[in-house]
């Protein structure tokens, strides 16, 4: 059930209507209903994997209860280890086992030892990387004493399976989302709901219009790099950067919007990342729920920057490599993570990796001139990284880059120029709401103008967008 489809529209209208109008305004009823709706939503993809979510939820709920009553340090550590083993075990078995097995066999074969890889060939369950990280955040926070374990199983199961963000995030923290399931949500908030609709509209613009229109170009360009002009290949890398941004940020926004309509507030996952002035800022604006997850649950526990620069550097690289690996069981993702890590390290060593905290050109019409080289350089590094991210393997990425670094790189692209207009439109609109929590709010415009703008956006998305065909890229992660 894809967000930009009639099926989801019907599903959500039914859920929304029943949730606010027909159910008793009690937390337990509403949570139970959301849990059933979430399981229906997931089962629509593949009911066979529903058991995995239920199992993962059950283990972490039980571990949480156990941590609440366990007194000894050993018992608590054992319980916590159980949660780690189950969640990372599921992820490892379904997502990484075949990759590591194959890589090991290749390693042996390069040493002259012939070995057949042991392969499970299991289908990757949709969203497993997202919900396992979400349930893990709960176990870790309870283990650390940062939150009390919940005694409400329905609230907990609904928190894990909450359908707007179940299959592609944002990866919510238990500390943010679980309390929202544990409190009464009696009153409907019209202002929040209207903001939710704005997020959905902008999310559809990003996904159905920008990402899916670029997908066609990207597929063609990446299919045979050796036959393409250098500048077309450069354009293809840029297109993919905006495709994945539109795809993933679009999903996150629709998830936030639908959650708002149900009275929930999910975290911001993307904040105009392509206006970032350095790679550190990029990671504070791109997939924020994942980067902060790694910061809080990997980087800081490893020692963060408390034990000197070299250990901090090691910790930074571990986080970037894990972040790459999280995206997929392929060396291309690991290389992509390493590239970002290497681009971040100089900033980190010079202690300037947080100099760009805060808004982008607040109160100004255009970006400040001194910011432009940083924005351009960051975009260049990120775009080169996308080539590895999109390539089928490292050989494909190498072939792509070599073909791109051809004298024809300096000529105007002779084909595939159809996506430039969408990117330009996206950048202009993104610039307008660059520092806003809610996009396309346009508070300075009179209502009539705002409505005209929304109607125009709707018409554009409807007539030029793609519905119900192109899956979200991040589903595969």
């Amino acid at each position: 059930m894809l967000f930009p489809s009639l099926t989801f529209l019907l599903f959500f209208v039914g859920v929304f209507g029943f949730y606010w109008a027909a159910l008793p305004a009690r937390r337990s009823w509403r949570n139970a209903f959301l849990l059933v709706a979430s399981y229906v939503f997931y089962a629509w993809w593949d009911w066979r994997f529903l058991g995995l979510i239920i199992f993962s939820s059950f283990v972490d709920y039980a571990v949480g209860l156990g941590l609440g009553v366990a007194r000894g340090g050993l018992a608590r550590r054992l319980l916590f280890a159980l949660s780690l083993v189950v969640n990372l075990g599921l992820l490892g078995a379904f997502k990484y086992f075949d990759f590591f097995s194959r890589s090991l066999a290749q390693g042996f074969s390069q040493m002259g030892i012939s070995a057949d890889p042991l392969l499970l060939n299991w289908v990757l369950p949709v969203g497993i990387s997202f919900y396992t990280f979400q349930t893990l955040s709960y176990s870790i926070d309870v283990f650390r004493g940062h939150m009390r374990p919940t005694r409400d199983p329905i609230a907990f199961f609904a928190f894990v399976a909450f359908f707007p963000q179940l299959v592609a995030g944002p990866i919510e923290r238990a500390q943010n989302l679980l309390p929202q399931f544990e409190r009464e949500r009696v009153a409907f908030e019209p202002a929040a709901a209207v903001d939710g609709l704005r997020m959905i509209l902008w999310g559809l613009f990003l996904k159905a219009l920008v990402a899916d229109n670029l997908a066609h170009h990207v597929d063609e360009i990446f299919a045979a790099p050796s036959t393409q002009q250098g500048s077309v290949l450069a354009l293809g890398a840029v297109y993919f950067g905006f495709q994945i941004y539109g795809d993933f940020a679009g999903y996150s926004l629709i998830a936030r919007g639908t959650s708002r309509l149900l009275g929930f507030d999910l975290m911001v996952n993307f904040q105009v990342p392509y206006f970032s002035r350095d790679i550190g800022e990029f990671w504070r604006r791109w997939h924020i729920s994942l980067s902060t997850w790694f910061r809080d649950y990997v980087y800081i526990p490893l020692g963060g920057n408390r034990e000197g620069k070299w250990l901090a550097l090691r910790n930074v690289m571990i986080v970037f490599l894990l972040s790459g690996l999280w995206h997929g069981a392929n060396w291309t993702f690991i290389f992509w993570g390493a590239l970002h890590g290497l681009a971040f390290v100089p900033l980190f060593f010079l202690g300037i990796h947080r100099r760009t905290d805060g808004g982008i050109a607040p109160g100004q019409m255009l970006p400040a001139l001194p910011d432009l080289p940083g924005i351009a350089m960051t975009f260049l590094v990120v775009t080169i990284g996308w080539i590895f991210f999109r390539a089928q393997n490292l050989t494909h990425a190498r072939e792509y880059i070599l073909a791109m670094l051809d004298p024809s790189l300096l000529s105007l692209p002779s084909s595939q120029r159809g996506g430039v207009a969408w990117i330009a439109l996206l950048l202009v609109l993104d610039w307008i709401h660059r520092n806003d929590d809610v996009p396309i709010r346009w508070p300075r415009f009179p209502r009539s103008l705002r409505w005209a703008g929304y109607l125009a956006l709707c018409a554009l998305v409807y007539y030029r967008g793609h519905f119900g065909e192109q899956e979200f890229i991040y589903f595969q992660f």
């Binding site: 409505w451 109607l455 007539y463």
Partner: protein
């Protein structure tokens, strides 16, 4: 909540009106091509409305035939009106009817170029809504609809809204879980559906009646398909006594290297085909 619903209702009504007016303008100004997928079918339909004095060969077919003989590149002799595979044989027949109504086809050659998979389709394909109902289920083609077509359309839910500007000018297709898709479960194979057989016969009869010849030829194939025997298709040809119609089909396969195809069926670069790959 009431106020919110009223606002949403008002906005939705305005949006419905705006989308319909926009869709209507797209149709009236023949700019649907800016909105819909594979809009070349509207070019072929538009071409079928015109009189062509010089054309000797009329090409019908699917999207691969469209690459082989692009409708945009009419030369004096060969005139392509290729559609896409989900347009089904009913779409091809209605298009031929439209062409015959505007042209004297006496002595002309009608060639249907279709992939081996294309004969198995009927209107239970999910994309048929977009490629058959939207372009053909309307007043212009109504006189040529027959009971077989009407019966299949009856099984298609919300068929009546297919001509609404908001639907017709968009890429929207009914969702795949709607029941019509399971009335006659479609397995894309190499056979010939009774639906295709019915319209193949009607195309043949129409061509004969107009004094034109009618033949069926294959699309280009990837090298890896060399050696396939297409036993399902051959068996169906015998079963439906279509041997005469298909007598050139299996000898006319042209193979190209796998790497030349972007998806196993369509070429990355059509220029390698030249202007007349089948020597029509």
């Amino acid at each position: 909540m009431k106020r919110f619903l009223l606002k949403v209702g008002l906005f939705s009504s305005l949006l419905f009106a705006v989308l319909n007016v926009t869709g209507w303008l797209l149709i009236m100004t023949r700019r649907q091509g800016h909105a819909v997928e594979n809009s070349q079918i509207y070019l072929s339909i538009d071409k079928a409305r015109h009189e062509w004095d010089e054309s000797m060969v009329y090409v019908f077919g699917d999207s691969v035939a469209h690459q082989m003989y692009p409708p945009e590149k009419t030369n004096d002799r060969i005139n392509s009106l290729a559609l896409v595979m989900p347009s089904t044989m009913a779409g091809q027949y209605l298009l031929l009817k439209r062409l015959a109504a505007a042209n004297n086809l006496h002595g002309k050659k009608i060639v249907l170029i279709l992939s081996p998979e294309g004969f198995s389709l009927d209107l239970s394909h999910s994309a048929s809504y977009h490629y058959v109902l939207k372009p053909f289920f309307n007043e212009e083609f109504r006189p040529w609809e027959d009971p077989v077509f009407s019966k299949r359309v009856q099984h298609t839910p919300i068929s009546m809204v297919s001509q609404w500007p908001i639907v017709k000018s968009s890429n929207w297709n009914p969702p795949g879980w709607l029941p019509y898709l399971s009335h006659e479960a479609l397995v894309l194979g190499h056979g010939i559906s009774p639906f295709s057989h019915h319209y193949l016969r009607k195309m043949e009869a129409l061509a004969l009646e107009a004094g034109a010849s009618f033949s069926v030829l294959p699309t280009i194939q990837p090298e890896s398909d060399r050696g396939r025997d297409y036993s399902d298709l051959r068996a169906a040809i015998h079963r439906f006594h279509l041997d005469d119609l298909f007598n050139e089909y299996f000898d006319a396969f042209h193979y190209f290297p796998n790497a030349a195809f972007r998806d196993g069926a369509h070429l990355r670069n059509r220029e390698v085909l030249g202007d007349n790959v089948l020597g029509l």
